[in-house]
Amino acid sequence: MSIKAIQDEIIEEFSMFEDWLDKYDYLIELGNELPEIDPGQKSDENLISGCQSKVWLDAEYKEGKVWFQADSDAIIVRGIVALLIKVLNGQPPKEIIDNDLHFIDEIGLKQNLSPTRSNGLVAMVKKMKLYAIAYQAKEG
């Protein structure tokens, strides 16, 4: 599925929630379901430190596609991380670079990705794009 199609799916999913707490219930569920990453991957190198919460991000490049693994110490952040991975995983670098992640705005999570929130998410999205740029450069 294209990045756009996955985003549309998520937006549709979220449109069903009647209230904020239902959304958060769902994000908590997603957060709980997200597989924990290897303790070894929770390295300083992979750490994106925010004042409010921590995020770890690792990436792999296989057969022209990027695969992310990520984690956070806060469940709701994990839930958002899960969504980001769902949208970007298994996509070619070019797609990751070119698409903007409008779903974040549309499902009402924009605040969580504001640069002043300091929860690690903005930096994580930036780093995801950087990985894609690096992999694309490798291809030449």
Binding site: L21, I28, I75
Partner: protein, 407 residues
């Protein structure tokens, strides 16, 4: 007790606001407090009717503004019971006041190998300026520890006061632990060794009586926005003798008497420390806020808040899995806690959607977090306009949060 809470809440327009369609329960007063209508109207009226640059102006508006500004200084003086208005300097907040002292006092009195003594429970604003000073002067920063209840270790303190200690800087009340420190005793002990003391009063002025002459501290700072005043204004109190001895902090208009390219002589106190066009609107707004507080009666406020604090302590402690950090014998209405093993950020985000404004994180007191080896807390902080009902709302919201995350 003579404390009409309904009437008081009516004085603060923002308390009627809703967030996400729910009534606002504002428990983030440790960060900033709201403004009574009288303060808002004062600021508005200044801009509409008499705005003008103060000092040295000879025209009507400038005279009037100057008079009001100097009267505001006297109001601040009375509020903390300073001796003279020459000891009251308007700054931009507690942070800029501490920076001013760290620089000016440091330039004059701190040399290589000297020591500056702060505590483990300081706000970053009372840590970093001293770190910067110590780095510049190759001096050492020493830290008074606190015990797990959040009380300063006074024995350790006594031993840390040495011939090398140049200044002691501690808060009157902690913004993350709620502890009220024995500032009078702290000052007395330092003075025995002729060491001056700065008290960071950012978290005390909104809660109770402050008497700088009783404390006998050498410097005292607070922020206007935390005591129901406007943003961008604060107060630095300093004993006249010390303020005379130390050099000015910033250079600019109004703080000089005479400027030539070769030599500049500084204006007298308090102007020597007020460089540039001051925030006169802020100062006059702050004076209105202080008048408002005095008008309610400090003893009434203290009594009311004590009830509120006891109620909150009891109710919070009764929540399953809730752990409070900071249980000092004397405290303000500020509570830092963990709820089971829920990440504070998770809890805070959900509370927000329920209309309850708390703060999460380190509260600019990283060393306090390090003490307990935690990354942050949820903090609820109350002032005179908060109610038991709001505490009940917080408690039931916390119960709900706990359930959401235990699934």
């Amino acid at each position: 007790m003579n404390f009409n809470i309904e009437k008081i809440r009516d004085d603060f327009p923002i308390l009627k606001e809703q967030v996400y369609g729910k009534p606002l329960v504002y428990l983030d007063n440790g960060a900033t407090t709201h403004k009574p209508q009288v303060v808002i109207d004062t600021v508005k009226e200044i801009y509409e009717k008499q705005n003008s640059s103060i000092h040295r102006g000879i025209h009507y508006l400038s005279e009037k503004m100057t008079e009001d500004y100097e009267e505001a200084r006297d109001t601040a003086r009375k509020f903390i019971n300073a001796l003279s208005t020459t000891e009251i300097i308007f700054t931009h907040g507690a942070t800029s006041a501490i920076n001013a002292v760290a620089f000016s006092f440091g330039e004059k009195f701190v040399k290589e190998g000297d020591e500056v003594l702060i505590s483990e429970m300081e706000h970053h604003s009372n840590i970093v300026p001293w770190q910067m000073l110590c780095e510049r002067k190759h001096a050492h920063l020493k830290v008074i520890p606190f015990n797990d209840n959040g009380e300063l270790d006074m024995d350790a303190y006594k031993e840390m006061l040495t011939g090398k200690t140049r200044i002691v800087a501690v808060n009157h009340a902690s913004n993350s632990l709620g502890t009220v420190n024995p500032v009078k005793e702290i000052t007395r002990l330092a003075h025995e060794k002729n060491i001056p003391v700065l008290i960071d009063g950012a978290q005390i002025v909104q809660h109770g009586e402050v008497d700088v002459r009783d404390i006998d501290c050498d410097f005292f700072v607070f922020s206007g926005h935390k005591v129901f005043g406007p943003t961008g204004i604060g107060v630095l109190y300093g004993k006249e003798k010390l303020l005379e001895e130390i050099p000015p902090y910033q250079g600019g208009g109004d703080m000089v008497d005479c400027v030539t390219m070769g030599k500049t002589t500084y204006n007298e106190l308090p102007f020597k420390f007020e460089a540039g066009t001051t925030n006169y609107t802020g100062a006059i707004g702050l004076a209105k806020a202080l008048d408002y507080v005095s008008g309610l009666g400090i003893s009434n406020i203290v009594a009311y808040e004590q009830q509120l604090t006891e109620y909150a302590a009891e109710k919070l402690a009764a929540i399953d899995g809730l752990k409070i950090f900071g249980n000092a014998g004397k405290r303000i209405s500020v509570f830092s806690f963990h709820l089971a093993d829920i990440h504070p950020y998770d809890a805070g985000m959900v509370l927000d959607k329920m209309g309850i404004a708390v703060r999460t994180g380190t509260h600019c007191t990283q060393p306090v977090m390090d003490h307990y080896d935690i990354s942050g807390t949820i903090r609820a902080s109350m002032v005179l306009y908060n109610t038991k009902e709001e505490i009940d709302l917080l408690v039931s919201a916390l119960e709900r949060v706990r359930k959401m995350f235990s699934k």
